[in-house]
Amino acid sequence: MSGAAYELDGVDLSVDLAGMSLPNPIMTASGCAANGPELHRFFDVAEIGAFVTKSVKATPQSGRGTPRMAETPSGMLNSIGLQGPGIDAFVSHDLPWLASVGARVLVSIAGVEAAEFAHVAQVLATCPDRSAIVGLEVNISCPNVANRGLVFACDPASSAEVLSGVRAVVPADLPLFAKLSPDVTDLVPIARAALDAGADGLTMINTILGMAIDLDRMRPHLFGVTGGLSGPAIRPVAVRAIWQVTAAMRAGTIPTAPIIGVGGVRCGADALELIAAGASGVQVGTATFHDPRAPRTVLTELAALLAERGISRLGDLVGAAHG
């Protein structure tokens, strides 16, 4: 876990995200990379900036029935239901493997109430492989049982409640990223609430709520009825979300904090688009399903693009499109 400058094609790609020093900005996206070994067959997961794990909850989760996915034009819908091993199995099984290969781990955490998030975070903050963890990504884009199953990130107060609960139980030097949902009328108040409550940075965007209908059965295609839309189809929404929140930071409307961009990135130019809009980190999600080498390829392409343009430091391009 090196904080030193990392060069590819003569470009310094290193980034510092609220104290999270990474050799480069490229990450997997939560839920699009499982927890490591599967992708490690295709590239060394320690080579990308950080490995983001599937959102983990307090207990094992079966997830939903199938079908869990539907392909859509340049995208897909998913309704997995946060299937996972639960935090205890995660720290005893998954995290040690990631630590063993030298990955920098951004652990994504989830819950159905603020207390569950806090419990999961606390286990992580005190686990044996704590040193492999570079930060926590708080997936507030998941359903809040107390609020009719609406996602926490739909509402500033619920978002703040989760973040402050987590902040209270983890050390100040463990960076917290709040992962926001684009399915809101105005992102800025949600971003403000999360930052004010203790988030050190923001991850944007989670999937957009969508749906497909099976015309043979004349019923919803997904077992879970609605699902999250992801992939290149939604990249313009990710760019807009990052742009809006960055603009609010530059205008002084909300505190300045690093943004991790995610949504539809499949090549180096896509990553650069999110960076130019204001992201200092970039996650590669659904593109990994098209090609499991995608996160690594995006890194190579990004470095080449910067080299081509004579840019020697990635940091110089963060938010560059704002002028």
Binding site: G31, Q61, S62, G65, G149, L150, G227, F289
Partner: protein, 300 residues
């Protein structure tokens, strides 16, 4: 999933070497360097569709029909059998030599061969027969006696009938409409074979309903049944969790298990068939981590 048994997967932009019609299907031959050493019958390949400008994001999965070793690994070939079922497979059926297609292979586990030679039945429904000739060769090479049942709705939907005679000791063809072989379902000859022979193992590949029926007959007759399932897959490599089925583990607990990584071949006894209906599979109430109550909105 145990992390130890991850075998190497070849990821390549493969040259299309051939594309021939076989009944209603197309057999595609692809140059996949290094695939011959590791691939086993029952494994599958995941192909990109639509080319560089494609709006179809996800790979399509196909059973490996066979692999052929080149004089060196760079010359290895992989064959699949494609039914034109929708836009992605339609595009694949139109590929000609000179075109390129992204291929990941081999994926998943394959059929396990028995510890000792014995008598077995291989059953394929429609293009589900694609891996059977190659599997039959493996079984015969170890001294097993191979019966093969090939079924389909109609004659043109049969696959492998022509080459079956050369690789199997007995061949039974059935079609629903009687346009080839006997009128009926694959379970008709299977019932007979299980009764008249000492069948130790049944291997099957085809639609879910057929697999379930085959599995039940085999288990009832005291045979081991290995079935290759076909669940919609977004990634094919174990990272998305879309392809799951409820599978009973060695510890007796049912888990939503990735068919791309821990399948597509499963022991029929491990499958919780009753959870499946109408192309959908519910989470059994006793599955590990099953929700106590349904959730209103997508948790992603």
């Amino acid at each position: 999933m145990s992390t130890g048994d991850h075998h190497p997967v070849v990821a390549v932009e493969a040259d299309v070497l051939g594309n021939e019609p076989v009944g209603a299907y197309r057999r595609l031959t692809l140059a996949v360097p290094g695939v011959a050493a590791t691939a086993r019958p029952g494994q599958f390949a995941a192909l990109t569709v639509g080319g560089e400008t494609s709006g179809l994001l996800l790979r399509r999965s196909f059973s490996i029909h066979r692999v052929a070793a080149g004089s060196d690994p760079a010359g290895d070939r992989l064959e699949i059998v494609v039914a034109d079922a929708g836009p992605g497979t339609h595009w694949l059926t139109q590929r000609t030599p000179g075109d390129r297609v992204g291929v990941l292979a081999p994926l998943g586990n394959g059929f396990s061969l028995p510890a000792a030679p014995g008598e077995c039945v291989l059953i394929g429904g429609g293009y589900g027969s694609a891996p059977l000739p190659w599997l039959a060769e493996h079984l015969r090479a170890m001294g097993s006696r191979v019966h093969m049942i090939l079924g389909a709705a109609t004659r043109d939907r049969l696959f492998g009938a022509a080459e079956a005679g050369a690789v199997a000791d007995s061949v039974h063809v059935v079609t629903v409409d009687g346009s080839a072989g006997a009128v009926g379902l694959v379970t008709d000859p299977l019932r007979q074979l299980l009764r008249d022979n000492n069948i130790g193992a049944v291997y099957a590949c085809g639609p879910m309903g057929m697999l379930r029926a085959v599995g039940e007959l085999a288990i009832e007759a005291g045979a081991v049944a290995q079935v290759a399932v076909e669940e919609a897959m977004a990634c094919g490599v174990g990272v998305c969790m879309t392809c799951v089925l409820p599978i009973r583990g060695h510890d007796g607990a049912t888990r939503m298990t990735r068919t791309c990584l821990d399948g597509p071949v499963f022991d029929a006894r491990a499958l919780r068939w009753e959870a499946a209906a109408d192309g959908r599979v519910a989470v059994p109430d006793d599955a590990v981590g099953a929700p106590s109550a349904p959730v209103g909105r997508s948790g992603r």
